[in-house]
C-alpha cells in the first residue's frame, strides 16, 4: 500500500485489475484503492509477473503493507499455472525470487462482497490466520453498474450495495437510489429494500461521501494555519494579450488541440517559480529544500464536495500543448475519482483557480510541506489605463500565499511581477 500523501495511514483495496499469472509492465494500473483522497489507481513500477495477490477485496491495510507478490520476468517457472484455489498450492516458507515480501497486516477486515466467481477470488493472505472470511457464495459474475458517487454514499452510510435497486439509465445505481434506501430521499422507500443503520451519524442533506476527505482536508489545513506563517500578495494582471493569442490559436485548431487559458497560467507560474526559487520546494525539519523541477499541484474542486490536487510534473520544461494534455487527463481522472498514485505525491507548489465561479480573487492556504500557493480569480473586463489612455481589458487577479519562514514579501512580489511578465508574452510560453 503506497503512501499517497503525508497524512495517509491506510487504504481500502476495492478492485484488483490483475490476477496471478498476468504479466505487468511499468506504469500499468494493477489495483484501485479507496483513500481519504478518493479512489486512486495504483501503478506498478517494474515489469514483472503477478505471482500472488495478498490482499482480498474490501480490506483496509496500513501504508507499507505488501499488496501482491511479484516474480521477476524470466525467472518464473510457474507462470502458466492457472490461478486456482489456494488449497492446491503449497505455501512456500521462503518464496524464492520475490520482489516484495509476503507479510500482510490487515488493519481491519470487512466481510467480502463476493462480486466475482470464487475461482477469481484472490488467494487468502497466508500471514493472516483464521480471520479470512470465506465468501458466502459466488454472486452474479456480472459487475453491477454503480455510479462512483453512489458507491461513496453507500460506504459512508454503511449500506450494502447488493440491497440497492438501481433505477438510473440502464439500471445504474445512483445516489438517489442509495439515499432512498437510507431513508433520506424525498420519495417513498423502495418496497424491496431494508434500511441499514448508518455506520456513522451522517446528518441528512450533508455531503456524506466527502467526510473522510473532509477530515483529511481539515487535518492538512489546520496544520498549515498552525505551523505556517502565511503572507499574502495580490496582483491584477492584464490578460488581454494572452487571451487574444489563445483565441487566435484555437480558432485554427481542432477541439482536441484547443487550449484553455488555465494551461497558460500554469506555464507562467512554473517559469516564474524557476526565477524565484525560494517559493518552489518543501519546508522540512526547520529548513527549506528547493526543487530542481516545478511540479505543480492543480486544485480541482470535486462536485460532491472536497478537493483533489493532482501533480503535473516539470511544468517549466513542458510545452503548453503537452501541459494541456496533462491537465485535461488529470481533470478527467479526478472527476471520475480515479487519479493515479503517481499523480498524488510531492508537488512543489500549488495553483488554485476559482475563475469559473466568477469571484475576483482567492487567498489560498498553503499545502504543507510546500511553501507557496498561487490563486487565480475570474477573468473580468475592467477599465485599464495603457499609456495614459483608457481601455477595457480582460484582467485576472493573481494572489500568492507564501511561507514567511522560507521567503519574504520582496521575493513574493518578484514572483508575481515575473508571472505578469510571462503572461504578457504568450508566444514565449
Amino acid at each position: 500500500m503506497p503512501s499517497l500523501g503525508a497524512d495517509m495511514e491506510s487504504g481500502i483495496l476495492i478492485e484488483w485489475l490483475v490476477k496471478p499469472g498476468d504479466r505487468v509492465h511499468r506504469g500499468d494500473i494493477v489495483a484501485v484503492v479507496e483513500t481519504d483522497k478518493g479512489a486512486i489507481e495504483i501503478e506498478i513500477f517494474e515489469d514483472a509477473i503477478v505471482a500472488e495477490l495478498l490482499i482480498a477485496l474490501d480490506t483496509e491495510v496500513a501504508v507499507g503493507t505488501p499488496l501482491a507478490r511479484l516474480d521477476r520476468v524470466g525467472q518464473q517457472p510457474a507462470v502458466a499455472a492457472p490461478p486456482t484455489a489456494a488449497a492446491t498450492r503449497t505455501p512456500p516458507v521462503q518464496p524464492p525470487k520475490v520482489a516484495t515480501p509476503v507479510q500482510a497486516t490487515p488493519v481491519q477486515r470487512t466481510p467480502l462482497q463476493p462480486a466475482k466467481p470464487a475461482a477469481q477470488q484472490p488467494a487468502a493472505p497466508r500471514a493472516v490466520p483464521a480471520s479470512v472470511p470465506a465468501p458466502a457464495q459466488p454472486a452474479a459474475a456480472v459487475r453491477r453498474k454503480i455510479s462512483p458517487a453512489a458507491r461513496k454514499h453507500a460506504r459512508e452510510y454503511g449500506i450494502d450495495l447488493d440491497r440497492v435497486v438501481g433505477t438510473g439509465d440502464g439500471g445504474v445505481v445512483t445516489v438517489a437510489d442509495v439515499e432512498q434506501l437510507h431513508g433520506i430521499g424525498s420519495s417513498s422507500p423502495a418496497a424491496t429494500a431494508t434500511p441499514v443503520p448508518p455506520r456513522a451519524a451522517a446528518p441528512p442533506g450533508a455531503a456524506p461521501q466527502s467526510s473522510a476527505m473532509r477530515r483529511a482536508i481539515a487535518a492538512s489545513m489546520s496544520r498549515s494555519k498552525r505551523e505556517i506563517p502565511h503572507y499574502y500578495l495580490a496582483h491584477t494582471i492584464d490578460l488581454e494579450p494572452a487571451l487574444r493569442w489563445l483565441e487566435q490559436r484555437n480558432a485554427a485548431r481542432s477541439i482536441a488541440q484547443r487550449l484553455v487559458y488555465g494551461a497558460l497560467l500554469l506555464k507562467a507560474v512554473a517559469l516564474a517559480a524557476t526565477e524565484v526559487r525560494c517559493l518552489n520546494g518543501h519546508w522540512r525539519d526547520a529548513a527549506f529544500t528547493g526543487s530542481a523541477t516545478v511540479d505543480i499541484g492543480v486544485v480541482i474542486s470535486l462536485r460532491g464536495g472536497g478537493l483533489a490536487a493532482p501533480t503535473l510534473r516539470d511544468v517549466a520544461g513542458a510545452d503548453v500543448d503537452a501541459l494541456m494534455d496533462a491537465l485535461k487527463g488529470a481533470t478527467e481522472r479526478a472527476r471520475r475519482g480515479r487519479l493515479k498514485s503517481s499523480e498524488l505525491t510531492n508537488a512543489t507548489i500549488t495553483v488554485s483557480s476559482l475563475g469559473d465561479t466568477g469571484v475576483e480573487a482567492v487567498y489560498a492556504v498553503i499545502h504543507p510541506p510546500q511553501v507557496a500557493i498561487v490563486g487565480f480569480g475570474a477573468v473580468l473586463s475592467r477599465p485599464w489605463v495603457i499609456d495614459g489612455g483608457l481601455h477595457v481589458r480582460r484582467v485576472i487577479t493573481a494572489t500568492l500565499a507564501a511561507d514567511h519562514r522560507a521567503s519574504d514579501g520582496h521575493e513574493g512580489a518578484r514572483f508575481l511581477a515575473a508571472l505578469a511578465r510571462h503572461l504578457a508574452n504568450p508566444e514565449a510560453l
Binding site: 455510479s147 458517487a149 439509465d169 438517489a176 480558432a251 462536485r303 460532491g304 485535461k328 472527476r335
Partner: protein, 84 residues
C-alpha cells in the same frame, strides 16, 4: 444517427466528465454546465468526447448554441457528417 441516439451520445459524453451525474435527473431545456457544475476544462473534455462519438466539432464561437441538452442535440443533428 436519429435524435434519440444523438441524445444518448450527448449524455454519454456528459457522464464521461461528470460521472456523478450518471442516471440523475437533467432538465433538457436548462443550461447543462450550471446544472452539473461543469468548469471550462470539463466542458472542453465534453466537446472532445462528443467529437469522437458524433464527429461534429463545436467551435468556441458556438458554445452558446450547445448550452442545453435540447439545443446540443439540435445543433449536432444539423451538422452530422453525411457519410454516416
Amino acid at each position: 444517427m436519429n435524435p434519440t441516439q444523438l441524445k444518448d451520445a450527448v449524455l454519454e459524453a456528459l457522464y464521461s466528465v461528470a460521472p456523478e451525474a450518471e442516471g440523475e435527473q437533467l432538465d433538457p431545456a436548462a443550461n447543462m454546465r450550471d446544472q452539473l457544475d461543469i468548469d471550462s476544462m470539463d466542458f472542453l473534455n465534453f466537446l472532445v468526447a462528443l467529437k469522437d462519438a458524433v464527429g461534429v466539432e463545436v467551435p468556441e464561437a458556438d458554445y452558446m448554441h450547445v448550452a442545453t441538452l435540447d439545443d446540443c442535440v439540435r445543433y449536432l443533428a444539423a451538422r452530422l457528417p453525411t457519410a454516416t
